[in-house]
Symmetry: D2
Subunit: 385 residues, 4 copies
């Protein structure tokens, strides 16, 4: 089992670096908006997680790589002390990319030793698994942040392309009967604390789309003046549209009379039969409103999930990110992982083409603020009866 | 029935003016923060509501009092055209208070005529009822806004006192069994559109406090350092506490080593056995976290409501303000009443001592942003099992 | 001499109230932008000046009217303690207008007694004179602030009209020879400390316009696209134009294809042969740049002043507000009057139709930030050789 | 002469790259505050200057390196088209450092050819000289920006040290008689347009310090509570101190009870007998006020300059940055060089240890906003009589 764990550890850790392989040194450094962290910060922070929450507790002779890194790579753990203000991450030229790769190697070496020696300790295995799942979350952020960094550079430099699948030209409506259903994670296998507390929900009958909404469908909303008509929008969404002069999803450019899209290979034509991407909750909700339909709740989504074609986009639900009944925060720093964000955000379900292999589950609860859209975000519709 | 409706109309409309009776002219004008509107604006806006949504449609020969008032007194109805930016309401010295009272009289006269002539038209009756319920909502805002205006003046001038009742010295836990319950409004009698779509919910068993949390209990949280310890707070709540240097509920002042409270009669001692007042969702939630307990969901609150001592404070729930299953926005301007606010806000249940008589219902869904606390807001706890 | 001083005192004090006579109570209260103070604040602050700097020192038995007024009516004197944040002045409904008039009467009564008893004390006379000159400065601010309050109300209510004189249809160029000139105040008669330190300046020969620039001339700048062409503007001025979408002087409205002007009587035609009014330094400077000419320095203006037609507009000069050689701040609170503002502002010379009678001098140094334009501000040009 | 010019060109261009030699790639990229540009931007911008203002006009067959670079490297020339918003410079990872060095080489090659072919054309020589003087200005900015980037990194990484000379332990007062003096540049040899228009000024007699104010003297101001006492400060300076919690010059750190200084080699002791460094105009002025003395005007400084020990710090004067009498903006983009900044800034005279060799002149007019202090800025005092 330690060998299995070690292999798992090495695979996950290696993938972070593979994602960054096409980058130039300069691409690792910048933070064009507050929510996009520099790639080198992600690489350091995920290593700091193992150093702080695993090695410091389980490896008594562990030598901290650099004791100022706690200040630099702590993301939001108040328990673990002061930290660089989030918006300053892109102002730090040091540590260099090279030093951060050395930091990763240093942590990996200590982790390898630890796993081989104590890799049967159930509590430790659980903690390491959390660290790897955490790193996988940052892998998706690496992809979205790199896309933002390059996609907002006036030179629009190309980078690795993610493969997107085609949708059928017409969608299908699935019918779900009313009844009492159970949602949430059973606790077998890994899950985050916010998925626990499996519980019953009663649902009215509803119909749900088998496939996510496509670009060609979303184009109709744009052409119908959807971004110019307040009546489809939340009040806060309409303010957001006005203040930011939003007229299309992120990465769409109107060039010579037609919409084009930055897909990490440069500006290209809109792939009409792919799922719409990079829209905010406000846009998803306005689209549904325009159609006279709704976004699914997270319970609806989860109950229907077996029959859905999902995994291309994180899908906005109409559920706010709130604790499941009986949810309790874990003690200590790990307890800051999820619970303290359970306000002002909306749940997204599914996974995306940027999600790391093996990281998706139908009980997974992703969450973002309603205006955010730099993740691979789309939607599907329900018809409530 | 027209006579009955007329009497209802007159009572409600008169109460708005009674609330303002103790004011000096200057008190009608100011807007110390964006969410507190000048009292004269409330008096005008509620009249504009009748002029715009009732008289303009039902009274063909109605003479608009002043055609610029639509621009001045429209609150947020995009359908009805441009309007004064919300934060500019307190920058307008004109129309004067006297002119606004004349405006009210003008509208009242036309409404009286309309009610007597057409007061049996069911659709009209419904619309007038909505206008009166709307005015009652603004009556509560008048009280809270006047309290804010005087309570943030360095002279702390006195004003009318609302009577608050005492709580028993110890609280009682009520037990609710698990099961399928129905919540929402049946549609008999008046309700807002957001209460409709009565539906079933499944609840786990839980216990809920009979009485709201008192000042003496909340003082213990303060004394235990609750405002200084991040672990009880949402991340966004902790930021709010830090940025605004919050150390106690609104209107609390620390004077010569003890907490005092502005209760509209000047600074007074904390009434230990009254329900805590003027706390934000963040504070309510931190208090619950400190106790190791939870805020009720709105379903829990409604299901238990028959057994609760409620009506002194709007009570923060742990439910986000979202549409009930099947909710549809009404067409036209009236459809902007509720639906477009269903994001980023939390539901409060119950009513407060500032709520107008006859305006409370157990299905009522009030909603505010998590940091807002100038309403009469408190909490009660649940223990989830 | 005490009688003479008393009469002077009474005339000046009465004029402040005369300026406010046409106001409604509500007009006294609001502060639509930070730099516009509520008229009631001006009335209180000018009285507080006498209470704090005269009565408290010279009248041992003086009863302070209300000891919280020091907090409310202190403008910027750090020496005298804490004060209401400037932007909060318009948030205070109390003290009421009536109370402030009572405050004025209370101060006037005490001042009358003081003047009759001690009105020959030279130091006291000087201090009272300063207080009256200070009040005259606030009288001009009262006029400009009232104009702003009413001129930014959507109802554009009328108020008292100031009489403006006509300019000749063509301007005249006066020639000033090069040489050593003396500028600054000799110290005979009242002046502010910033005018003292009379000193020599050497001027190159120049020509200066006899009359200020007129509306008809400024309209040509507008029609020539002056507001759309960066090359006439300072970099900071161009940013200001862009951010605030400035296309004309303050109070100009483009209605049905022509420019109209709010002159306190409502919207009216542009008075073509009156001096252009309500322009910022940035606009004055851009106009000069467009003409290929310059604004005068304050020395040029003062040296030429005897031959100029001045007094209708404060005229922007191209001199920054800096101390004259040898300037020293006075000790104590009175020393805060001028010196601490000598950075980031530009000097205006002359006087305006809103300046109080007897308050103008050719050595007077008025000063405002380069973007401000709610005062009665215009310009005249020089040709440097 | 072309050979001489070519050598001059090569020396200046090489020095920019020498300054950057100790940097890591990451150090070239970041922009921790708006006024600090990424070193790679400076390297690109100075090359763009030659490409745009020299090669495009004089070298008909010149191949632009990358036509998007005009958008990326234009600093503020409205004449030359749109540009990256200044605060976005640090958000651009591309072009890479390597590409920018290739850009420099490309421009250098074309410039070499141009100089050898047309290097006797007087107008061209003048333009190239301007480009090289411009590059020298950016060399000083490179030094100050690199210092800021490293000096605000929590790791405080070391970099090249500039040599600072010691001051004598006591200062000397020089006396200048009153009289008519001439200031400004005669036009012989290179100068910027803002130094032209040599003109006469009359000065009262004054005394001026031979040496700049030292750290030991400035420490006395700190110890005397100078940063805590409003009466030494301009009103705007006091606001700046309060809002930014300023208690010492930039790069000073209070560690274990004593002040230390980041001098690009890490934290070190305060060099007591060196000139105080990195203070704003507000601090310079407060220090003078505390001493009961003044900052020199730029005329005083220039008239006394022959007798002064200068060149270690840019010295704040008490003169605002305004045009000399008769100043005219040059036509076209080059006219944007200086004139459009002549508002809201103060003049600094002298030069600093970061100034490029051969770039200093006694008529040089440097200028910054009164709160800026990341340049090598100090002061000396005058006593006006």
């Amino acid at each position: 089992m330690p060998n299995h764990l070690l292999k798992y550890y090495q695979q996950v850790r290696a993938r972070s670096e593979e994602i960054c392989a096409p980058l130039q040194t300069e691409d690792y450094v910048v933070q064009p908006v507050a929510e996009v962290s520099p790639p080198k910060w992600h690489l350091g922070h995920t290593s700091w997680f193992f150093e702080t929450f695993v090695l410091a507790d389980y490896q008594p002779d562990y030598q901290v790589f650099n004791d100022q890194f706690n200040y630099i790579f702590n993301s939001y753990y108040e328990t673990v002390g002061k930290r660089v203000v989030r918006t300053d991450r892109g102002n730090l030229s040091r540590p260099t990319v090279k030093e951060i790769y050395a930091y990763r190697a240093h942590v990996n070496q200590a982790m390898q030793k630890l796993i081989l020696n104590q890799g049967t300790d159930a509590k430790l295995v659980k903690l390491i698994t959390l660290g790897l799942q955490h790193e996988q979350q940052h892998q998706e952020l690496l992809i979205t942040d790199i896309k933002y960094i390059l996609g907002h550079n006036p030179l629009l430099p190309p980078c690795t392309l993610l493969t997107d699948s085609e949708l059928p030209s017409s969608n299908t409506w699935l019918t779900i009967n009313s009844g009492l259903y159970t949602i949430g994670h059973s606790g077998q296998g890994f899950c985050f604390d916010n998925e626990l507390c499996q519980h019953k929900v009663y649902l009215n009958p509803f119909q749900i789309q088998k496939h996510p909404v496509s670009n060609v469908e979303f184009l109709q909303f744009i052409k119908a003046g959807g971004y110019q008509n307040f009546e489809y929008w939340h009040s806060a969404g309409w303010d957001w549209v006005q203040q930011n002069k939003i007229t299309a999803p992120l990465y769409w450019h109107y060039v010579n009379g037609e919409w084009r899209y930055y897909n990490t290979q440069g500006l290209t034509q809109i792939a009409l039969n792919q799922a719409v991407n990079h829209i905010s909750y406000y846009e998803a909700s306005a689209y549904a409103q325009w159609k006279g339909l709704s976004l699914p709740t997270e319970a609806q989504w989860e109950v229907a999930s077996e029959q859905l074609n999902w995994g291309q986009r994180w899908e906005w639900t109409n559920s706010a990110y709130l604790p499941y009944p009986g949810f309790k925060k874990l003690p200590g720093a790990i307890g800051e992982y999820n619970g303290k964000f359970m306000v002002n955000q909306m749940v997204l379900r599914g996974a995306s083409i940027a999600t790391s292999p093996g990281h998706a589950r139908v009980t997974y609860r992703n969450f973002f603020h309603p205006h955010e859209r730099w993740q691979f975000m789309g939607l599907r519709l329900v018809r409530n009866q």
